[in-house]
């Protein structure tokens, strides 16, 4: 039979893929001149914006979830089984990824202006990553999830290694490659175990099997065998690599530092968002019946992740390394509400809370990275001491970074960060996980130390650095993130409205 494809539903990744191909073609045929670099950047930017437009159109289009790549109804059984679904969850993640994509493309234009990095390949790989990141939250079967996740990861290795003249970049790329391949292998093993038990790859049917509503095909278990637990743990471990959760976090700092700054920003926001989307889908949409197994693991991993990230960030002297560990710590905060998501009565609010935190985190973290990008052009080592007096030398950049740091620390006037933390605290306290709330409270204080020390440096008079006119693309990058962060500070309800949804389609 003929598979009917709803092209409107898959338009966002499709547009990105076409744009990626276009960039590669243009790069091959246009003369290598500085203006071509800008032109390719603008083409990539246009691709991301058009894709974002489609996401917006889908969001405006109405409430019912649309799906494609479905199993025919007579085979699917009750509830249907589709591989690609566009619902609120998908749209929020796609929107987040694409807006972050705009910022990363803008940052890339600054990075590439210096020359030395092949432009066409860069934008091609960047757009490919975005295709994966947009597809992933829409995926509703295990194979699609794994493929999308690999599509997010593979181009990033190459992007990390793009600074061929820099030894640290190559080292970072190899590190990332090895870690990521291992995590994929672990996850695939877990996926195969789950498939072996349930006999299906679709999350909706997986959920039915694992919650005991429908029997595991061909086998008559009263209770699920221990191998199911192993499968759950392995899948969680695979995703834990992607979001740099403890104990799979050690790659973060080296890779962030070695990679070009836009790639570090991409890793910390887009790749992380994709990892969380996958984790939420697997855990809540697929394995909610096994919550008793994974909820405690997620809770403990969250506590360890935030603690390890914050403690490691304390001693950093390099700005990018500090942001790397801080983003590990923030992963912990995002993960914490998911531990409550195992409780069926509150799983939608718990997911909403995680997503709200992720959205706010993306805004403030990208703002910080954009300013770091700006500074990295004058200070090659990019250490914290290079930021001394930034607020006096360049008030706009300094104040923007100060605001983002205060946001990340979760203090007023960075109300966005404060409310993000309040959302999480509320969820945890309501879910009855008092110990996790206390761990997070202590972590908030540890985190404040390094953010505050960095922020204070911005305002202490320092050495006059060489002033170089920043390329024009930096300011929109800072602007977009800052406007988002300020907007979320004034009206956090926007984020809550966005991320409150009822169920997965």
């Amino acid at each position: 039979m003929i598979q009917q494809i709803d092209y409107f539903v898959i338009a966002p990744p499709l547009v990105l893929a076409l744009a990626a191909g276009l960039v590669l073609l243009l790069d091959a045929f246009l003369p290598a001149r500085p203006r071509t670099r800008t032109a390719l950047g603008l083409v990539a930017l246009a691709g991301v914006l058009v894709s974002l437009g489609f996401v917006g159109a889908q969001a405006a289009g109405g409430a019912p979830a649309r799906s494609t790549f479905c199993v025919p109804p007579d085979l699917a059984g009750p509830g249907g089984a589709c591989s690609f679904v566009t619902d609120r969850f998908t749209l929020v993640f796609a929107g987040l990824v694409l807006v972050a994509g705009v910022v990363v493309v803008l940052m890339s234009m600054t990075e590439l202006a210096a020359g030395g990095i092949p432009v066409g390949e860069w934008y091609f790989l960047l757009l490919c990553t975005l295709v994966g990141a947009v597809t992933l939250p829409a995926s509703r079967d295990l194979i699609m999830l794994v493929v999308a996740l690999e599509l997010v990861s593979l181009p990033v290795f190459a992007l990390t290694a793009m600074k061929r003249y820099d030894g640290r970049a190559s080292e970072a790329a190899v590190k990332l490659f090895v870690v990521s391949v291992v995590s994929t292998a672990v996850m695939l093993f877990g996926v195969s175990l789950l498939y072996g038990i349930a006999g299906t790859v679709h999350l909706s049917r997986l959920a039915a099997v694992f919650s005991g509503q429908s029997p595991a095909p061909g086998m008559a278990w009263e209770t699920l065998p221990a191998v199911g637990t192993v499968g759950v743990v392995l899948v969680v471990a695979g995703f834990a690599f992607k979001i740099a959760a403890v104990p799979f976090h050690s790659w973060a700092a080296d890779v962030y530092q070695g990679a070009p700054v836009p790639v570090a920003a991409l890793l910390s926001v887009i790749s992380k968002a994709a990892g969380f989307a996958g984790l939420i889908l697997i855990l809540v949409a697929g394995l909610s019946g096994q919550a008793a197994t994974w909820a405690p693991i997620v809770g403990i991993v969250a506590a360890l992740t935030m603690t390890a990230g914050n403690l490691l960030a304390l001693r950093q002297r390099s700005a990018v390394r500090l942001l790397a560990w801080s983003s590990v710590a923030q992963s912990g905060y995002i993960l914490a509400p998911l531990a409550i998501a195992g409780d069926t009565s509150s799983h939608t609010t718990a997911i909403g809370t995680s997503m709200a935190y992720l959205v706010i985190y993306a805004a403030m973290n990208l703002g910080a990275f954009a300013v770091v990008m700006l500074v990295s052009r004058t200070a090659t080592r990019n250490e914290l001491d290079d930021y001394r007096g930034l607020a006096l030398r360049e008030p706009a950049a300094g104040l923007a970074l100060a605001f983002c740091l205060v946001c990340l620390a979760g203090l007023p006037p960075g109300l966005a960060g404060l409310f993000a933390k309040v959302f999480v605290f509320r969820e945890i306290v309501e879910g009855g996980w008092g110990w996790l709330a206390l761990v997070m409270a202590v972590n908030t204080v540890i985190g404040l130390y390094y953010y505050a020390v960095w922020a204070a440096r911005l305002f202490t008079p320092g050495v006059a650095a060489v002033r170089r006119r920043p390329p024009p693309a930096t300011w929109p990058a800072i602007g977009v993130s800052l406007v988002a962060a300020v907007l979320f500070s004034i009206a956090p309800q926007l984020v809550l409205d966005m991320t409150s949804f009822t169920a997965f389609g």
Partner: protein
């Protein structure tokens, strides 16, 4: 008559006032301090208007209410209001901020620390004012928390940028300590919310703890109490305070002691006691015990201090102990006393820090042995004011410091039903002893600083110009045992590398010091008198006419304790 706009405007004036500082710095630059003075004056005028139009016959119920949804998803409402408990503190906040600007606007303060980055200083103080006023206005648990947090960042910068030599460590200690407290408090607040489903303080007060089991109330009270106690500060959570005070610039110390500490005690009266009555009753004996330990500890620590600012900082620990003891009695008398002592401490300690700042301005040290004594002879007016403030602080009847502490002790004599009376009698006795010790250290301070034989003026200059190089090697006759290094560490200019090379001092330049000293050692100047007179007048007023304040708080206290007793 509904004048709901008044609290909003009260917050909006300083908040919007920061915008021109950001947007049009050039236009404002020549008259930055005047700009701050005008804005804070406007805020003070609004606060006075608030007090004037406040319906005193209905002090128990919040007036001037504003209630708008802000974040429906969180149940957070922008709910402001004023009642008899918050009104005095709002006026106090507006007054002290205004006086700080008066102090900054004229005189040498301009050329001293505040000469550095005046725009940032005005900005910081205005944001600080927003946070302080908002805390006292908020009638929503989370809104209270948000305002409670707003003060952290400006205070951090106030200490960290304009502070003394050890400012970096002090500012970090301050912000980490208080944040730890407030995050724990947040958990407590959310626990209340999770149990009752509302964040509205009015509704929660009316419910008197209904909907929460005793154990939940106790846990929530402890969590919220820890957050408030760090801010208050209560022994043993006070250790951030002496450092912060010693290093903070004068205006920072004044606002820290005068207002920020009150936010902690206000939280007890506004949230912890009325919302969690059973929790309060269960924890009160412990609270009382820590309070009296704080009284004694503060007094003993004061006796051991050499640094004037540090001594005043420790005296705050003792005074706040009285306030907490008043709350712990859970009686109208005790709580009234606590609220009275709160305001009185804000006035008196604000004045004391102004004076200590003036002393430091003139002598370039606050080390009491280095000051030498005889201030009444050399600087008679400053000496008399210091004497007055010290005597007010030690609780001389007829001055504001007396009533609050007397009422707090009186409340401990007859604590609320259900509290162990014998225990509280013991607290009362210990507290009384603490009051005696308070008198002792203030008199000792006066004997060291204001009395005695003044040093020759010439020597005075010597002392000040090489001050800090060898402050500890001179014989210290009137002092007790030589003090631990912690007391003096802040005075000694640490060797340059330790002094955080990344923060070059924007203080005085050692070359220019002798001239500056000669110019600086003069008596109270006009602007100082202008800034201090209102405080002196209010200390006298409340001392002679305590009913003025007590009539305001009494009805509100009775309502809030309706739940407890």
């Amino acid at each position: 008559m509904e004048m709901g706009w008044l609290p909003v405007v009260l917050l909006a004036v300083p908040l919007l006032g920061t915008l021109p500082l950001l947007l049009a710095p050039q236009a404002l630059h020549p008259r930055l301090h005047t700009y701050g003075l005008v804005l804070s004056g406007l805020t003070l005028a609004l606060a006075v208007l608030l007090a004037a139009t406040f319906d005193h016959s209905r002090g128990a119920v919040p007036q001037f209410e504003v209630d708008q949804a802000w974040i429906p998803g969180l149940g957070l409402r922008f709910h402001l209001g004023v009642d008899g408990i918050s009104l005095p503190l709002i006026v106090l906040t507006a007054l002290l901020t205004f006086l700080c600007f008066v102090y900054l606007c004229w005189g040498s303060a301009r050329k001293g620390f505040a000469g550095a980055r005046p725009r940032a200083l005005v900005f910081t103080l205005l944001v600080l004012e927003v946070g302080m006023l908002g805390t006292f206005l908020a009638l929503d648990l989370l809104l209270f928390f948000v305002f409670f947090e707003i003060v952290l960042v400006p205070m951090y910068f106030l200490i960290g940028i304009w502070g003394g030599t050890g400012r970096r460590a002090a500012s970090i200690k301050f912000i980490l300590y208080t944040l730890l407290g407030s995050v724990v408090m947040l958990i407590g607040l959310l626990l209340v919310w999770a149990q009752t489903g509302t964040l509205d303080i009015e509704a929660l007060n009316a419910a008197h703890g209904a909907g929460m089991s005793r154990s939940v109330q106790i846990i929530a009270f402890i969590a919220i109490g820890i957050g408030l106690a760090v801010k208050t500060p209560m022994w043993p959570l006070h250790t951030w305070l002496p450092d912060a005070h010693t290093e903070a610039p004068t205006v920072g110390s004044v606002l820290l002691a005068g207002v920020l500490l009150k936010m902690g005690t206000y939280g007890f009266a506004r949230i912890a006691l009325p919302v969690l009555p059973e929790g309060a009753a269960a924890v009160a004996p412990w609270l009382g015990a820590l309070a009296v330990v704080g009284i004694i500890y503060g007094a003993l620590a004061c006796l051991a201090q050499r640094d004037l600012k540090r001594m005043i900082a420790y005296s705050s620990v003792g005074h706040m102990g009285f306030v907490l003891l008043g709350f712990a009695t859970l009686t109208p008398v005790g709580v009234n006393g606590a609220l009275f002592a709160n305001v009185a401490h804000g006035l008196i300690t604000g004045l004391l820090f102004f004076l200590a700042g003036a002393v430091k301005d003139r002598y370039h040290t606050a080390d009491m042995p280095s000051l030498g004594g005889g201030m009444l002879a050399t600087l008679p007016r400053l000496g008399s004011l210091l004497t007055f403030a010290a005597i007010a602080s030690l609780g001389l009847p007829g001055l504001a410091g007396f009533w609050g502490e007397m009422l707090a002790l009186f409340g401990a004599f007859q604590p609320a039903n259900g509290l162990p009376r014998g225990l509280f009698l013991t607290y009362m006795v210990i507290g009384g002893l603490g009051a005696v010790l308070t008198a002792a250290y203030f008199l000792l301070m006066l004997s060291r600083v204001t009395h005695g034989r003044p040093r020759a003026v010439a020597r005075d200059e010597d002392v000040t110009s090489d001050e800090g190089v060898t402050p500890d090697e001179r014989p210290v006759v009137p002092l007790g045992p030589p003090q631990a290094r912690s007391a003096t560490a802040t005075l000694e200019p640490s060797p340059a590398p330790v002094r955080h090379g990344d923060e070059p001092s924007d203080g005085h330049d050692p070359q220019a010091e002798p001239q500056e000293v000669r110019r600086a050692v003069d008596d109270v100047r006009r602007h100082e008198l202008l800034a201090w007179t209102p405080l002196v007048a209010l200390i006298l007023l409340f001392g002679l006419w305590p009913g003025l304040l007590l009539t305001l708080t009494t009805p509100a206290v009775q309502t809030l304790l309706g739940a407890v007793s």
